[in-house]
């Protein structure tokens, strides 16, 4: 296998299959032409090949040029939105950190270890926020740009209106993501930080431990997806019908199981109810009713908000 073979193979690797044959033949012919020209003017063939390939440069870059792929993660169109959103979202990270720190102190841990786990929690949350926000924007950079800008020509009609109510306010995004982070942290921490301990000293979880076999992990995944959804919504800049549909699905996927679990008294840990309220029957129905009412109201609000804004924006857009 010659250097040229290896170079062409490396270039073709990341080029769409249907274009490979043509680029393969053309690139090979161009390289051979350039090598021959050098040999004719007196170069050693091996040296000439090496020089030609060196001048062509990194095959990955050449492949990106051929397939018109961006050579950056987030381009200038999205960079400012990405930075703005990320820098605000990161302010959420210290909150669960402080919560863990306080709970550790209340639990009798030493100041050093409480501080350590607080910082570790804040760091982990910050890492997740940064990672997922960046992933969403990088994906939008590669897919969304062509959707948002199908004609390719910018006109003044596309200028964002400064007080445009269609624009999702940053505060909405931050508030909603903060709630998801809180719920996420709560689901994790309720196992160990309920404030009650059984006789053998182990912590009593607030939620039924059986739920860890499926429902709690599922809800954790849904919370992450919901947070990602909020970031996408902010990046897109407004509600659309399809975003309202996705929002409805996410909301129902979270709400219906929670209501069902609460209604069938499978949500709370009976041991916790006994420890906290002295008995498990009346308190269970009271706690479950409260959860059902709150969760249902939030869901109605959340789903409704999406549809109202999506339909209203479609109206203004049509005018």
């Amino acid at each position: 296998m010659t250097l040229t073979d290896r170079y062409v193979a490396a270039t073709l690797r990341s080029i769409p299959v249907d274009k490979r044959d043509d680029i393969d033949r053309e690139l090979r012919a161009s390289i051979t032409d350039a090598v021959d020209a050098r040999v004719e003017s007196g170069s050693d063939p091996a040296e000439a090949e090496e020089r030609v390939l060196t001048e062509l440069g990194d095959p990955a870059r050449l492949a990106a040029e051929y397939s018109e792929r961006p050579l950056y993660l987030i381009g200038p169109e999205l960079y400012l939105d990405w930075r703005r959103l990320l820098s605000v979202l990161l302010w959420i990270a210290p909150i669960p950190g402080v919560v863990v720190l306080v709970l550790d102190v209340l639990d009798g841990a030493s100041a050093i270890s409480a501080l350590g786990s607080g910082i570790w929690t804040a760091g982990t949350v910050a890492l997740h926020i940064a990672f997922w926000t960046t992933v969403v924007f990088a994906v939008l950079e590669r897919t969304g740009a062509s959707v948002a800008n199908p004609t390719g020509v910018w006109t003044v009609d596309r200028l964002p209106q400064v007080d445009d109510s269609r624009r999702v306010p940053l505060s909405d995004t931050v508030f909603t993501v903060a709630i998801y982070v809180f719920l996420f942290v709560f689901l994790i921490l309720q196992r160990t930080y309920s404030g009650f301990r059984s006789d053998d000293g182990s912590a009593i979880a607030i939620l039924d431990p059986d739920l860890w076999s499926f429902w709690i992990p599922a809800l954790l995944v849904l919370l992450v997806l919901s947070a990602v959804f909020e970031v996408v919504l902010y990046a897109i800049g407004g509600w659309t019908i399809s975003m309202a549909v996705i929002n409805t699905v996410l909301s129902l996927l979270f709400t219906l199981p929670v209501i069902w679990l609460a209604a069938s008294d499978e949500l709370f840990n009976p041991d916790y109810l006994v420890a906290a309220f002295g008995e498990a029957t009346d308190s269970a129905s009271a706690a479950s009713t409260a959860v059902i009412v709150v969760v249902a109201l939030v869901a109605v609000w959340d789903i409704g908000e999406g549809w109202v804004k999506a339909l209203r924006d479609r109206g203004t857009h049509a005018c």
Binding site: R25, E26, A29, E55, L56
Partner: protein, 121 residues
């Protein structure tokens, strides 16, 4: 004293875009990748191979060039030729380029009064 790096950067900015015009004008007679690269270099348009080859395909995709594989010779080569749309664009771009050149010369000679409208007297 002029910083050579600054000169190189600005020079590149000025030349950017000239390669498209030059390629469209040159490919009125069909040509292939490496041949065009050499011809452009001889005509004073220094362009890197890794810029030119993808550019040719992009112009073809835009309908400004048409291509055909020539398999008559021992080495099959993809020949590009400027299409009618490409010809139209080349004429348009060349007119713009010439107009820019004239305007710059006029500025240089001082035959165009400096714009002071709305500015300091």
């Amino acid at each position: 004293m002029l910083d050579p790096e600054v000169v190189a950067v600005h020079g590149q900015e000025v030349r950017r875009g000239s390669v498209v015009v030059a390629s469209l004008l040159m490919l009125r007679t069909p040509g292939y990748g490496y041949g065009l690269l050499e011809a452009l270099a001889d005509a004073g348009f220094a362009v890197e191979a890794n810029t030119l080859y993808p550019l040719l395909r992009r112009l073809e995709k835009q309908g400004l060039l048409v291509s055909e594989w020539n398999t008559d010779e021992s080495r099959p080569r993809k020949f590009y030729r400027t299409s009618a749309a490409g010809e139209e664009l080349a004429t348009e771009l060349l007119r713009e380029w010439t107009a820019l050149g004239r305007s710059l010369e006029a500025l240089d000679r001082g035959t165009v009064p400096p714009t002071t409208e709305g500015g300091a007297p």
